[in-house]
């Protein structure tokens, strides 16, 4: 057998040809990268998101200490309160990991519960952020006040929007798990939501460390 014929025979043997995917949007998934389509898509999306938040955070630092007038970060930040909301968000990464883990082991109703707890933590975090914004506005820092006001609200606001999207996403996944549309074999859909959730969490850790904590280390 020539080398080519051998290669062809090998490919046919391994059942590569004619694989019909697993319903939903995946067609023929030859799975070259050893990663399911959805998961690869989420990874790519997160790469894109890195550039998005990278640009927002870079803008914040580009304008740091360049405000003309207006309140300064140190005059509005309350590390205590933000630490609590940060802690809640971090906890949600743990509960998310549990949701993925249980889904992979086929414990679907447990997974659904973990998803709901995660969504609840996320919603609480957003609630804290709404309070924080409200509080800052009352102190006198608005979107229009200064470069600090503009950059701070837009950067953290877009992060909050991402958390909110994540909460909706988790609720949808929880519903699909509950109705049996995401069975154990499709745990990758839970896992994908998890990837996004952890990413949003990491972005917050970056913001909390460099925007909030560093302000007090100076």
């Amino acid at each position: 057998m020539s080398a080519h014929a051998a290669e062809a025979a090998d490919l046919i043997d391994h059942g590569h040809a004619g694989d019909d995917g697993h319903g939903h949007d995946e067609l023929v998934e030859n799975n070259y990268m050893k990663v399911p389509n959805v998961k690869l898509a989420i990874w790519t999306f997160l790469g894109s998101e890195c550039m998005f938040f990278g640009s927002l955070i870079a803008t914040y630092f580009f304008y740091l200490d360049k405000s003309i007038g207006g309140l300064l970060p140190k005059e509005v930040f309350s590390i205590g309160i933000t630490s609590i909301s940060t802690f809640i968000l971090l906890t949600s990464s743990f509960t998310m990991a549990m949701a993925v883990d249980t889904a992979k082991s086929g414990l679907m109703s447990k997974s659904r519960n973990w998803l709901l707890i995660t969504a609840l933590c996320g919603a609480t975090f957003v609630g804290f952020q709404v309070y924080e914004f409200w509080h800052f506005v009352h102190l006198g820092l608005t979107l229009q006040t200064s470069l600090f006001g503009s950059t701070f609200y837009v950067m953290t606001g877009f992060h909050g929007a991402h958390v909110s999207v994540g909460v909706i996403w988790l609720l949808m996944v929880a519903k699909l798990v509950h109705s049996g549309k995401i069975p154990a074999e499709r745990a990758v859909f839970v896992e994908s939501a998890g990837l996004y959730w952890h990413f949003v969490d990491i972005v917050w850790i970056v913001i909390f460390t460099f925007v909030y904590l560093l302000e007090f280390a100076k």
Binding site: H16, D25, N30, A41, S48, G54, Q144
Partner: protein, 618 residues
């Protein structure tokens, strides 16, 4: 060249069993609810071609204004609007969508797949793109077009100077950006994960590779400009201070965010054309592409370095000598992989048994014309020289050589080459050649003299010039060239329309080509391939025909597979995203709570339609 061992037409497989969740549709419904990558591709291409004509018309108008000195055919404001819309249209609504047309139609065929990874998301990208195109052009009807240049420099776009057109511009671009990012994710997954068995990465055709590289460029370069656009929108809607100098804002922030996107973007425009040329030259020179791997790797290298050169557009912005020197150096480096490709193409032609049908003419012309544009680019890579050339017609000449002489010639080549695959019919070669020669002559008459104009000091974006500047001749030539190109384009449009109906019937493989797309019928069936081909080289169809022991073998039993069903969800959810933009535009004309009401409804609509989307059977 040896005789054919096997014929592609003779390769028949038993009828496959296809499984759909929902029944088929016909007529208009078929197009509105389609998730077929081929139909999506055709709509992208047609929309791109349409906007190519619109952008051309805009150029024709402002070239009439510039034909003679001290002309009063139009005023400065109209001129600025037309130039801005011309460039925005050509980049985002003509070249990118035509490229997307090729990507959609061809990528699954090139890699032996039945569709893209996420067919409904693909349709969503299409509708969102059309929404963005609509929004940008709607500015003509409501308050006039944007007039700040396609680069939208702050503070020209700010609340103080930018008219209502800017709101259409930034929000329309934001839609296009969402569309491109979704598409890029889709195609990265498709090319990486859905290749036919045996198609290792290095067996992916060069065109497939270039499409892969540009998806990474899109995925990573659109976010910065999206942030830039959002900040602009916030400045205009809510009075934030991002680009407001009196509040300490720095207009250079926009320039960085824009060019961090803008330079990768120029490679998004050119790499697919390079891919097309790399597919066509070997077919009509009857030789494999010289150094295929080098062509692929230089494309990847261009993609990487393309992210490190953006500030060569800002040499005059006062970044300081260190930054200027660094960006001059990276810019010079990027010319190296470009040169590598040029030598590969020449090496392919060297000693080939050449024939010259229309696609080959365009592909050959691409090489020297694009090279001229590359050379002028290399000249203003030198920061001190660029201080002289920046914002002059020399730069205008540069980017028209690379965009018209490069990207557009490549897309024309691809159109003539793949037309038979898409429609099942050939385009007229005679009319094609008329189009080719007129267009080539017209573009050189218009753009070559602009090098001289630039060196003589004519700035870009001025709506008229005095007679004693002595720029008359070159400007008159510019206008004459545009008229010649217009005639060429009319011939092209006529050719496309007539050939769709009356062109000679093309078989599966009219050009005796080498890659998998020519294995399918013309036009390909919904499922593309009746059986999953097994790929053993980078030239599977060529080897089937000409290499002993390498034929593609059809299975004895019909394959069964699942095909994606028709769906309204992509269009509906894209419509709700468009609704958000409409809220923003309402805010421009009727400030108040409109924005929040419409935005809230749109958000509910998006969530609802996404829920419907994920719950429907595919």
């Amino acid at each position: 060249m040896s005789a054919k061992l096997h014929d592609i037409e003779a390769l028949q497989a038993p009828e496959p069993h296809m499984h759909y969740e929902r029944p088929g549709k016909t007529g208009l419904m078929d197009w509105l609810t389609t998730v077929d990558h081929k139909k999506v591709g055709v709509v992208y291409w047609a929309a791109g071609a349409f906007f190519l004509l619109v952008g051309g018309l805009e150029a024709l108008l402002f070239r009439i204004q510039l034909a003679v000195p001290d002309n009063d055919f139009m005023g400065g404001e109209t001129f600025n609007g037309l130039v801005t819309m011309h460039a925005t249209t050509m980049v985002f609504l003509a070249i990118m969508p035509m490229t997307a047309g090729f990507a959609n139609f061809l990528v699954p065929l090139l890699i032996g797949a039945r569709d893209v990874a996420f067919p409904r998301l693909n349709a969503w990208s299409l509708w969102t793109f059309l929404g963005g195109a609509l929004v940008i052009n709607a500015s003509f009807l409501f308050g006039g077009p944007p007039a700040a240049g396609w680069t939208g420099y702050a503070p020209l776009t700010g609340p103080e100077f930018g008219g209502t057109g800017i709101d259409f511009w930034w929000s329309g671009l934001a839609l296009l950006s969402a569309s491109s990012m979704a598409a890029s994710i889709n195609f990265i997954v498709t090319i990486l994960n859905m290749r036919a068995p045996g198609m290792t990465l290095l067996r992916v055709p060069v065109l497939g590779w270039m499409m892969l590289v540009i998806q990474f460029l899109l995925a990573l370069s659109f976010p910065p400009v999206t942030v830039g656009l959002i900040l602009l929108g916030f400045d205009r809607m809510f009075g934030t201070t991002f680009y407001n100098v009196s509040m300490g804002g720095d207009p250079q922030l926009w320039q960085h965010l824009f060019w961090l996107f803008g330079h990768p973007e120029v490679y998004v425009l050119i790499l697919p054309a390079m891919g097309i040329v790399s597919e066509i030259l070997p077919v009509f020179a009857r030789r494999p592409l010289f150094g295929q791997t080098a062509v692929i790797f230089s494309g990847i290298f261009i993609g990487f370095v393309g992210f490190g050169v953006w500030a060569h557009h800002m040499f005059t912005a006062g970044m300081g000598p260190v930054a200027d020197a660094a960006f001059a150096a990276t810019t010079a480096i990027i010319a190296i992989p470009t040169g590598v490709k040029i030598f590969n193409w020449l090496g392919t032609l060297w000693g080939g048994k050449m024939t010259y049908p229309t696609p080959m003419l365009f592909a050959i012309a691409f090489i020297p014309i694009f090279t001229l544009g590359g050379l002028s680019g290399l000249m203003h890579a030198a920061a001190p020289l660029d201080l002289q050339q920046h914002d002059s017609y020399f730069v205008v000449a540069h980017f028209h050589y690379v965009l018209v002489g490069g990207a557009l010639l490549g897309l024309f080549a691809g159109t003539y080459f793949y037309f038979p695959k898409v429609t099942g019919r050939m385009m007229s070669d005679g009319l094609g050649k008329a189009h080719f020669w007129l267009f080539l002559i017209g573009m050189n008459i218009t753009f070559f003299p602009q090098h001289m104009l630039g060196n003589e000091g004519m700035p870009r974006r001025i709506y008229t010039y005095p007679a004693d500047a002595q720029w008359d001749l070159y400007n008159m030539l510019g206008t004459i060239g545009v008229i010649i190109m217009t005639v060429a384009m009319l011939i092209f449009v006529y050719n496309v329309i007539v050939s769709v109906k009356k062109g000679a019937i093309a078989g599966r493989d009219p050009w005796d080509a080498a890659t998998l797309e020519w294995l399918t019928e013309s036009p390909p069936k919904v499922q593309n391939f009746d059986f999953t081909p097994i790929v053993l080289s980078e030239r599977p169809v060529w080897d089937h025909k000409y290499t002993e022991g390498m034929e593609i073998i059809a299975p004895e039993k019909g394959e069964s597979f699942h095909m994606p069903s028709y769906s309204w969800k992509p269009m509906i959810s894209s419509g709700f995203v468009l609704m958000l933009i409409i809220g923003i535009l309402l805010n421009t004309f009727m400030p108040g709570n409109w924005l929040w009401i419409v935005a809230a409804l749109a958000a509910v609509g998006v969530v609802g339609s996404v829920w419907a989307w994920v719950s429907e059977p595919v």
